[in-house]
Symmetry: C2
Subunit: 373 residues, 2 copies
């Protein structure tokens, strides 16, 4: 499968998921209207919908029909989006996907409507964005429960709902909290191992859930799964193929994060979607930055440190950052680790028999790592 | 049943619910430790646990064993508490139950630990309190799902989970949003009807759910419920006794709100638990305040308006507020309406056969209305 075919499939998945979210009546009764709009905003914008694609194709790869997974696929996208709404408040980030973030849009709507001052409008925006995310979290859980309408058994729906709360919400929010903590003034910066662990909680937990949910739905709905279902639903989770898909997703997530660090310094602005070296100018403790700092010393370390947190970076400064990052050996180490993990992830797929969906999963991780395509 | 017996039963319920919450492993893996503590804080403090009492006794009143309802009872308390954590951020309220609110406690912990300035510490507190509430929402949903361990059928657990998200989260958060909106500067104040509707969303939806959940669990677990269960689980909701209990709870909630308005002006500080006329000094648009304003005119209206939003009120000013509230007729109207609704609520219980649990529900609404006992 070439990358164009893959991208067509990815768009098709996004369209289907968007249609499920759009047609869902859950937000209909929300008041006032501006809150209803805020609740629908991010989930309908979408983005690439990589999480629902992972879920649908994991389902397909174990012989399931991705149509049965449509509500679960919509649920993970709504879920991902509520975490973004709250993240954007916490990071005080005014933009998301080239549009105003939920809290910023709500603040603007008040500032436009009355002659509220900026501080009042900002608080209004934050307050309602907290509430919008709160409803979205409920919406995600309710959408997963709707899976029964797609022919999923009660046992599977209950198992997945339990996993969503305890195996996604707890690690994901813990990861977010650690991320916030790392950025606050503290006596010592986190180590790169601490950051890697934080990222596996913050982004890995939901990716693992997507793979597991797709796999569980496949086993739940396919005739071949009968034996496994009869034993005990929790035992589905120890099935070798389910475990392999979960590892595939988790490893892919870590590879993505490392590669993202690298692209943030060495990629080009258009592909990456944010200014080059923005992590450094925001003093964000990425693995690449921490590795660079721990591998430099003397004047080079001093020079590199002087760029961290500097609001705007000139082209020659960016060149110097690149030079020092390479010189330290960190660039190479981080990039190599990302590519090794990419291979590891693909190796996990050996546990799955060949199919079009398996090919899609191969391409999915390629796409995740290298957004050049 | 006298009020002392009732209060013993209420404490007993609170103890049992607290034990279920305390022994629950859901928060164990939360990181960092201060977030774990914040997540457990409000749910373990408790308060009177009136929601879980309503749920347990509604279960008992329809012939169920409240022990089967223990996870659902814990779930509604955890649920109520996550909404308080987010409410307290939004209202910028530093205290809850005579102790620092979650966001204030988190802010203090940072301010004490490092030499962060107040603004940074306040933001830290708010950010982590958002995350604490987010995890608590998941915890509530997960605890409800645990009901299967108490012998509740999968069908009942799925039905109640669906109701929690769509029939509680949507109206409750909509009510909270309307409440916030009413307090923001706007061209015209809300009408007392708008406020009554807001309150029925904000507090009534969860109370109705408590009654319904208790009733559904009773029908689900008792031999008498077999016929009803066989037809269709959703049909349980239209059973006359379930509907009566839901109306009982919703009506009691509105009566409580009106009586709370009245006690806020005419009660005594110790019983009410907040300064007399604090709603008026905070310019909170209560039904009593709106009714008073719409029934006064001329100098009396002008005089009354001059007290609204005044930070501290003298004893003679409180006397004048009381005089004007009575003179307008609003005091009498609001109090009478509260007592009429109290009677209405009790009348709903006629649909239920006599039992100790029915007596407890009678006392429950008395206790809610008049906290003198």
């Amino acid at each position: 499968m070439n990358m164009d075919e893959f991208k067509r499939e990815l768009s098709l998945n996004a369209e289907k998921v968007t249609a499920v979210i759009k047609n869902d009546a859950f937000p209909d009764k929300i008041e006032p209207d501006f809150l209803k709009e805020a609740v629908r905003d991010y989930p309908l914008q979408g983005g690439k919908r990589i999480r629902s694609a992972l879920l649908s194709w994991s389902c397909g790869a174990l012989g399931g029909n991705p149509v049965s997974a449509r509500f679960a696929a919509a649920a993970v996208e709504i879920y991902h989006n509520w975490t973004l709404v709250h993240d954007d408040i916490i990071d005080d980030d005014p933009m998301r996907r080239n549009a105003p973030a939920t809290h910023a849009k709500l603040a603007e709507s008040l500032a436009g409507e009355s002659n509220a001052n900026t501080k009042t409008a900002k608080k209004f925006g934050r307050d309602f964005a907290i509430l919008a995310g709160d409803i979205q979290q409920g919406w995600a859980a309710a959408t997963l429960l709707k899976s029964m309408e797609a022919g999923i058994s009660k046992e599977a729906v209950l198992l997945l709902s339990k996993l969503l709360h305890s195996e996604v919400t707890v690690p994901l929010i813990s990861g977010e909290a650690l991320d916030v903590e790392f950025s606050h003034p503290r006596p010592t910066p986190p180590t790169s191992e601490e950051v890697e662990r934080m990222l596996s909680l913050k982004t890995g937990a939901l990716l693992r859930f997507c793979a597991i949910a797709g796999a569980v739905i496949a086993i739940d709905t396919s005739p071949q799964g009968e034996e496994l279902r009869k034993s005990n639903y929790d035992s589905i989770l120890s099935d070798a193929r389910v475990a392999a898909l979960a590892e595939f997703a988790g490893t892919a997530g870590t590879a993505f994060q490392l590669r993202d660090d690298w692209l943030g310094v060495f990629g080009d602005e258009k592909t990456v979607g944010k200014p080059i070296c923005s992590d450094i100018s925001e003093a964000k403790p990425t693995i690449l930055l921490l590795e660079t700092i721990s591998s430099l010393n003397g004047d080079e370390l001093k020079s590199f440190r002087s760029f961290v947190g500097r609001k705007s970076l000139s082209l020659s400064e960016i060149d110097e950052i690149r030079r020092l990052t390479e010189k330290s050996g960190a660039a190479d180490r981080v990039n190599k680790k990302a590519l090794t993990l990419l291979d590891d992830a693909k190796t996990r797929l050996n546990a799955i028999t060949a199919s079009r969906f398996k090919n899609l999963l191969h391409r999915w991780v390629d796409f995740l790592i290298d957004r050049k395509y």
